[in-house]
Symmetry: C2
Subunit: 526 residues, 2 copies
């Protein structure tokens, strides 16, 4: 029997607040520090490890966090989710994105359809279509092969798929599996579409229109923008466009598209990268096999996230240490810092995933909560960030917990030795150095050169950023966000906070405004 | 006579803490709200306006902030800076980036050189070189024109120039002044250089190596990486590379470069976009005239920032309202939200500018301060952010002040009418709607759909994102950061917090580690 409880009603949360805080500088120094790095690590799928040695916990705090996981029934709540209960209470929907990549529990039949079969079926339909594009069965009107795929979508239909494409573009190049270049149009700013289109050969481009509802303003506007450009180029838009949408959307049966692929209301936008939302564009870009490998990595991380043993469950562990940092230690922000240029837009995806899921002030029953929930998430790849905002992270007045990601090998395997080390070694050396610099600091009598340390971080370490590794990374953070939502007792799967702006924007466009809104509209020339 | 004082010693700061806070929902509602939007606005150069109607201030608070500006001698400190005093106390340097774009006060002669003439002279040398590249006097070995410029630099040698290039790339396309495409290599990750090089025609590319000291690890490594690639392509690297550095650097007199252009120690990296650091790559990309227009916009904003009248000085006003939000209201984070896809990397530049300048815990004399200093800065372009992290901004448990930027016209002037409005109108309508949604909120009995409002923002409004507008935007934020540094009495122009990581990374590469650092290094395969 699952009970949904607010954070501050839990006995284990009270115990957590009462635990003695650790001195991270001491804990991470000397042989004890070395021992922590060796033991505070747990496999997270696809050959990667989640190492939490530099997070501000010790065995005592971990034991209280394990009590917390049990009292808040985190494993049971995850099981309820993947077994198909209505976890998204706000919108009264199931939450089934895990089924796009594996069968974690019971079969879920909804509206007479086995949902796992439905998602697999759509993947198979996408793969079949993609293979026809790649082998030249589906071409442009002149019989020429398509060379570029351009996704039209915004938010969850853009950030995840774009981040994953960039994560694997160079990997695919060197593995001879970059079938088509990908581009992305998202913003309603006309310069976004016009700028992207100016770089494409329209006659050889296929556009993937992604909108679950089929009513997203930005996406429909950009679809028209693209159709207009295709028409001006003398091309038949319906031969250049596919739709990814729900079966009930106005796009589903339209003859405007070469094909339509489906997801449903049980796949939230920010959790949709492993559905057709990511699957169509990524399969076109890299081939269905690469996308399947990506799903395998995600499925592996999902399986690990089922463990009821906190110390064997990196997503739950990451989530609960994050709750401790946020609610007990009072840190309002978290930075995501991948030491991999290929992950340059991964922090932007996590920013949506985390902030849109858990940036809530009411619990799942719509009652106000008396504690802070989701933090601000931001980040850039290292070593770039070191030459940018790390100054504040090291010596600023606030403490910002950090989430590093690092790999032993580069993707492209093109490297040079300068001063006895490769660039990849320099990259890896820098992330190792930063973790210790943040944790341990360094005393200096000149306080301007003094580093207090005590700044917590974890690191995910992998061999190489492969499709499976990207899948596991994605699933790790999806599951982390889910466990944090359960911990705070919020509904991580709706987003009512985006509605008011939409309503007011419509009023502005209809010139139905007064007061401040009218003056702002005038100043902006509307 | 200037006196440098800590924030918490100021009478006006104590008065500020004691002022009554405003109710933003009330203040922005009805006719009073409309009146605020009309009156709380001030020109900021290049035809743009800084509108602060939705920031949490009223006439009383503004009057105390004016007292604060006077007591903390902000105009006098800015004058001391541009007149050449040693404002960067940590490194004992002058701070002269304003001189790259104008003569704000006295001539500054250092080491026998008139610095304004020096910077102007380098601009002229760059323009002369660039014109020769554009007109084909300087070519590759085969006599073919260069078509692409690739900047090699990191931090301040990357973020600002890259953000400005992206801001003007599409504008230049439609104004027939995109002379050369630009690319950027920054990260020591070998996949960054290898990935970028795989997209370039090396034989037609010119590389701009940017390092003031001539010793930046990442940049020198990437230079070798590029030279290696050029050699493998049978090209003479010295015919494909220029340096931007200081006259005393090892790069200055090397025969490895077609030319070397100079800045000096009085131009900090994150303030160097208007020096040769930005000037060389941007002039090659767009032509020297476009870069000159950019400088004119910056100079205009600088002139406005000299005003001792707070209400006529948008940079000072933005700075002091920010201090009020940070220190009195306790908000730890600020988001920068440009409603312009062209400004997609502008928030990343501001992130460095702000966090590296003011993320400090000691004052300019090296004494610890007892108050918080620089906030975390993050942001993405709108409307994209609306479909990502705005959920937390609207309904999360923390309040995040917002800095919007919006324009009446698009850059490329390619647009379509859908549902009676253009995309540009939809874009502008959305930013107007968001400001009011954040400020006023909307009550709903269903608390999950309730918007409390009271979330402050300002907006910079311009006609179009032109070179001058980009210059004024850049200078506005540079000057804002400077005024905040003066307010907190920190040295905004050094960055000692980046040193420890460098030292430890060297130890890792030399295998001179023990304890936790050794284990992390082992795990990362170094």
């Amino acid at each position: 029997m699952i009970t949904w409880k607010n954070l501050d009603t839990l006995e284990s949360y009270k115990a957590l607040c009462a635990t003695e805080k650790i001195n991270l500088v001491e804990a991470m120094s000397g042989e004890a520090g070395a021992e922590r790095v060796k033991t505070y690590t747990v496999p997270m799928g696809a050959g990667m490890d989640f190492n939490f040695a530099s997070r501000p916990v010790d065995d005592k705090i971990l034991s209280v966090l394990a009590d917390f996981a049990k009292e808040q029934q985190l494993p049971e709540k995850f099981a309820a989710l993947y077994n198909g209960e209505i976890i998204n209470t706000g919108e009264k929907r199931r939450v089934l994105h895990h089924m796009c990549r594996g069968q974690l529990g019971d079969a879920v039949v909804a509206d007479g359809v086995d949902k796992r079969e439905f998602y697999l079926g759509e993947q198979a339909r996408i793969a079949e279509f993609v293979n026809k594009v790649h082998n030249g069965e589906i071409t442009n009107a002149k019989g020429e092969k398509f060379t570029t795929v351009c996704q039209i979508g915004i938010g969850g239909s853009d950030l995840g798929p774009r981040a994953i494409y960039l994560a694997l573009e160079n990997w695919a190049k060197v593995n001879n599996t970059l079938k088509m270049k990908a581009a992305f149009i998202s913003n309603v700013d006309p310069d976004d579409a016009a700028g992207v289109l100016s770089t494409l050969d329209l006659s050889r481009s296929i556009f993937v229109l992604v909108s679950k509802s089929g009513t997203t303003l930005e996406t429909l506007t950009n679809e028209s923008f693209v159709k207009d450009a295709l028409a001006k180029a003398g091309l038949d838009a319906s031969r250049h466009m596919v739709a990814v949408t729900s079966e009930t959307s106005p796009l589903a049966k339209s003859s405007d598209y070469l094909a339509a692929f489906f997801m449903d209301d049980y796949i939230g936008g920010r959790f949709s990268s492993s559905s057709g939302v990511g699957g169509c564009v990524l399969s076109l870009a890299f081939g269905p096999e690469v996308f399947a490998d990506f799903l395998k990595g995600a499925a592996e991380a999902d399986e690990i996230a089922k463990s009821a043993d906190l110390l064997q469950n990196p997503a739950m562990l990451d989530a609960l240490i994050g709750v401790y940092e946020r609610n007990v230690l009072g840190y309002p922000t978290t930075a995501v810092l991948p030491y991999s240029q290929a992950l340059s837009r991964f922090p932007a995806h996590l920013q949506q995933l985390d902030m849109e899921s858990n940036g809530k002030s009411v619990n799942r029953f719509g009652e106000p909560v008396n504690y802070v929930t989701g933090p601000v998430i931001f980040g850039e790849p290292g070593t770039n960030g070191q030459h940018s905002f790390y100054q504040l992270l090291h010596q600023g007045t606030d403490i910002i917990p950090l989430q590093f990601v690092g790999f032993r090998k580069s993707q492209m395997d093109t490297d040079i030795v300068i001063q006895d080390s490769t660039s990849q070694q320099k990259l890896a050396a820098n992330v190792a150095a930063q973790i210790v610099a943040f944790a341990c600091g360094k005393q200096d009598d000149n306080l301007n050169k003094n580093f207090k340390g005590g700044r917590p971080s974890s690191i995910i370490i992998g061999e190489k950023l492969t499709p499976a590794a990207v899948g596991a990374l994605l699933a790790h953070f999806e599951n982390k966000v889910m466990f944090q939502g359960f911990s705070w007792n919020v509904n991580s799967f709706d987003q009512e906070g985006v509605q008011l702006g939409k309503v007011l924007a419509k009023k502005v466009l209809a010139h139905e405004t007064d007061g401040a809104l009218k003056v702002y509209s005038d100043l902006l020339g509307i």
